[in-house]
Symmetry: C2
């Protein structure tokens, strides 16, 4: 039971995560005495995704993990027996019980390589019965991983190297493992971090996140914090009542911004204070629960300045609605004047994070020259790949017993190229591809 | 370790399959003394998917399974500690270790109900800290399940009640669990069966499948079957060499169809014989590996008629390329004349199954009056929901301590409606919705 010992075991595919016809064909091969015939399959795609000119090959690590652990358990064999004819020779099931991938050889493009149509991502050779059974799980593991990595790489190319890209699409993913796969392979494709804690725990993806609107709306301002006192960052000196200090700073901030001191929402302020008490070194303000200009921004500045007095530096603000580019510009302007007004230079460059259904077009807008956006959170557009939600990989038999095989079909584009392939990239004397 | 004892445990979400900000907010609530405040969240969508007028609520069973098993293991708490400030009060982690959902109440639309925008699919109430932590996994479990069920129901409405619909999209699914979820909830939405064996084993979905082109191309015709003999269906009488009988029938079939006896591919015929030897009671012919008219169809008829002599009835044919509607019509015509010619009435009504990137438009064409298609296999279009690959469910705080909460934001459509909801469907005196 290798899977149980593997801390990632639960995330991997299982042998029965396959199409029933793989099992019926297995019986067919076995009955024909061909279970051990040496066969080779190639896994490839026919067109680059998203109308683009490349893909990234990904999922190899998951495939290797799956192949290493591949064993049919008793319960699996029993289930297959229930789905096959009742008079099936028991020796077939003994054959299944003994199966593993020790006779299977996989040649593959390295994880994260550029991949092109028709060039095999995987070449899988071994006993016909086993390599046939592997078709569906290998397709499932490679196809979506490669799609996500490619999608993430496209988004990274659009964003340029300097924006911080955060994947935050778990809630919109196609099933729990869809979320884990998306977080893992968007990181491979060029994202900086993910909101998905499990991807951090199981795959080592850096995780990030601060607070949501529900945290803000959960506070009315009438709550009494059990301990509003905060010690200075340096550890020395007396504790300060952060809430009281924030109220004092709020008056100065509202004066500077030309706002009435009653305008900023007191519940939002209480939420910011509560968050700052828990995360004094990592305070981020979510600005748009009520009104960015009249509430979120002054409340953030009051808390950030109160923390600054104690030696803490706020780490950012976040916007999740409205015109993100324009608001970021206005917020940066306010940060600059406040930095000068209150003598706090770092306030000028507080990172501005944005999110809200960002797709390739909106990302290009947010990444344009002069944009004041620093961090971009992308959910649905990266994890579900709405422009093309499947890569359409195929797994085709190219030879048996060293003899090439092909299919013709009624669609010319579905014909296969027989025989085992070797792909070369030709470089000219100047080192460029030709 | 409830999950390990649960045979479906590995398929369920885990507590750390969540966004990091749920954990940072948990610390914020705890630090503010609000972990136990009674809160209520509502899970709903804002627009029906696919431009339609309804959705089906689904995923409740997965949610209940997740909530029942919800416990943070030591390794989970340790990972969270590594992602939170190093000076976090250890008492917070003790609080996490003791968490479960015993104080959480869920009201929900029954699995498979009609659901409409703004009407809660789930209403989750309980201690603020816990119900906040549940946001991401519940969204992940409900959103895709409901999307798939809705998509499947739309496809079923297009197909009408008589076509058999088979989900076969595992290889194109967004991750292994995306495939399992898709198979489970497309069955809920009105499909008849799935190709996904794991969905059969874990969820009781009927599974179906026969053979792929690789099985056909793996045979050249020069293979020598170790045992070509088949006993009659009734069990009495002497065994027959099936391959030899097929060769005899092929001559008669080719004569009837006006084909040369060399035209049908001998490798394809060997594959059909091999499959028929393993599945004499469930022989299906995949017709389009080389040429439907000149090879697949005569080879199928030869094998089906040889089996018929032994008392077996073939269960169908399958097409995976070309104009499916037109070919089904032609094949049905051949079946009718062959049934008359060879005196085998059941041959007229052999089920014709089709597949090949079938979407809503192609399905409508295949389901039109006079169509000779009986079984329709759908993959990518049902599992990835390419018209809209996410439902966009949200989970919003509506009250804390009995007090209603709302957010305003910079986008009017993202405002929430405060307070706990009750939804009614009004029926007129004629029993119709008003």
């Amino acid at each position: 039971m290798a899977a149980e010992q593997d801390p990632e075991g639960r995330a991997a595919a299982r042998p029965l995560l396959t199409d029933l016809y793989q099992a019926t064909m297995a019986l067919g091969y076995w009955r024909a005495g061909r279970a051990q015939d040496q066969a080779e399959f190639e896994l490839f795609f026919r067109q680059c995704p998203f109308g683009g000119a490349f893909a990234l090959a990904a999922g190899l690590r998951d495939c290797v993990r799956f192949l290493r652990a591949f064993r049919l358990r008793d319960a699996d064999v029993q289930f297959l027996a229930s789905a096959l004819p009742p008079d099936t020779d028991p020796a077939f099931f003994e054959h299944l019980r003994a199966l593993d991938c020790s006779g299977v050889t996989v040649r593959a493009l390295p994880e994260g390589s550029l991949a092109f149509p028709g060039v095999p991502l995987l070449q899988v050779s071994g006993p016909l019965l086993v390599v046939q059974l592997l078709e569906t799980p290998l397709l499932c593991l490679v196809s979506y991983a490669s799609l996500i990595a490619t999608n993430a790489a496209r988004l990274r190319l659009i964003a340029g190297p300097d924006k911080r890209l955060l994947e935050m699409g778990l809630r919109r993913a196609q099933g729990p493992d869809g979320g884990l796969t998306a977080s893992t392979y968007s990181y491979l494709g060029g994202f900086d971090a993910s909101s998905n804690v499990l991807a951090g725990q199981l795959r080592g993806v850096p995780v990030a996140g601060t607070l949501a609107h529900s945290f803000v709306t959960s506070f009315s301002g009438s709550e009494v914090p059990p301990d509003p006192m905060l010690a200075p960052a340096a550890g020395q000196g007396s504790q300060v009542d952060l809430a009281a200090s924030v109220e004092m700073w709020l008056e100065r901030v509202c004066g500077h911004l030309g706002l009435g001191v009653q305008e900023p929402h007191r519940g939002e302020r209480a939420a910011f204070v509560a968050y700052a008490l828990a995360f004094p070194r990592a305070f981020q303000g979510l600005l748009d629960t009520y009104s960015v200009r009249r509430s979120g921004l002054p409340n953030f500045l009051a808390v950030a300045l109160a923390l600054q007095e104690l030696g803490y530096q706020a780490v950012g603000v976040r916007l999740d609605s409205g015109d993100l580019l324009q608001q970021a510009r206005e917020i940066r302007g306010v940060f600059r004047t406040a930095a000068a007004q209150f003598g706090v230079p770092w306030l000028q460059s507080v990172p501005i994070a944005v999110s809200n259904n960002i797709d390739e077009e909106e990302l290009a807008r947010l990444a344009q020259k002069g944009s004041e956006v620093n961090v971009i959170g992308i959910g649905t557009s990266v994890v579900t790949c709405p422009r093309q939600p499947s890569l359409g990989c195929v797994y085709k038999l190219v030879s048996v017993g060293g003899q090439p095989r092909m299919k013709l079909t009624e669609d010319p584009e579905k014909q296969t190229l027989p025989g085992s392939k070797a792909a070369f990239r030709l470089l000219g004397s100047d080192g460029r591809t030709v």
